[in-house]
Symmetry: C2
Subunit: 181 residues, 2 copies
Amino acid sequence: MPTPDDAPNAVNPDYWQFANAAASRISQEFPECDVTANRLFVTLFRASSSVIYDFESSIHRPAGGTWASYRMLFALWVAGPLTPHRAAELMGMSRAAVSNLAGNLESKGLLVKQASEADGRSLILHLTDTGQTKIQEVFARQNSRENDWSQALTEQERELLISLLDKIMDHRTAIGAKTRK
Amino acid sequence: MPTPDDAPNAVNPDYWQFANAAASRISQEFPECDVTANRLFVTLFRASSSVIYDFESSIHRPAGGTWASYRMLFALWVAGPLTPHRAAELMGMSRAAVSNLAGNLESKGLLVKQASEADGRSLILHLTDTGQTKIQEVFARQNSRENDWSQALTEQERELLISLLDKIMDHRTAIGAKTRK
DNA sequence: GGCAGGTTGTTAGACCTTTTATTACCTGGT
DNA sequence: ACCAGGTAATAAAAGGTCTAACAACCTGCC
């Protein structure tokens, strides 16, 4: 017969225990600190990394890819051929990361690098037919899993969550947030 | 005189352009797909990685650390001495990642590994005095930056966002989401 | 034309994370 | 007492990310 202290039915005992301990500890040590803000970004990070971990381990690794490789193929699929520079902007990563990623995907035959005619420094990344087929297959499974996760919320809550996250993104310039070059 | 097409004052032109292109492309290719769900998780990932990038590049790297090392020191600060196993649970990462991280932090003199008396296999991670001082300094700056970001939202919106993200976290078990062991 | 300064993709070095395998240790049934 | 099976931390290999430095290339100004 479990006592209340055992909390046997708590949904995320580790997470809650940690979040509560954190709030209590920091407000005791720093009475002036912003507990809600801390809780907000701890929660944002936790939610994001939990969801991505599920996507990667249940879909992309079994399919022979990674989360990063999925993002790259998805970007090329929805935006068409891109320079590495533009791909980096769209995906929010460094040019070096794109270079590394493109090398791996090229060696798997999922994309090709084509020299730009207009600019001798530049390349254009294209999906191969294999890459095109691959991203369509993988996206179908990814989107199905996104749907599973989104059942946590009502349609209205989903729109609300998107708009709150967009509000945070839009605030970047106001606070001079560092962004990848 | 800029035309509307130039969209010179758009807040996140790359982000919006990409999100819109994605929605249009996938719904055209997969009429049955869940565009809102896709938008939701693309947005979640973008927001999380943008915020973390700002934290890491504006606070933790200049202080000689990383986002991961901050999280580890923070966990030990708020929860007290922990076994690597427990630290991994609280931070939501693998035991191997904790082992690696603890090694780096130990070599910087920020924590020590103490052999457990109860179990010959186990360790207990402790902050050193240096580590204690360090996390308090760094947390003050981190929390100040969290406050800057949170100004994007009203107090009510912050609570709402936390509760929506918690709802997603709570949904993990219902869909059998993969979690780190 | 020529050259200074900026841009493009790449590489090197440092760190992080995961999965898989390994070693040391504990625990419970015989 | 013993041994099979499980658990704790670690190591190895593969991949990803960043910054900084690089060579190749472009551009604009003289």
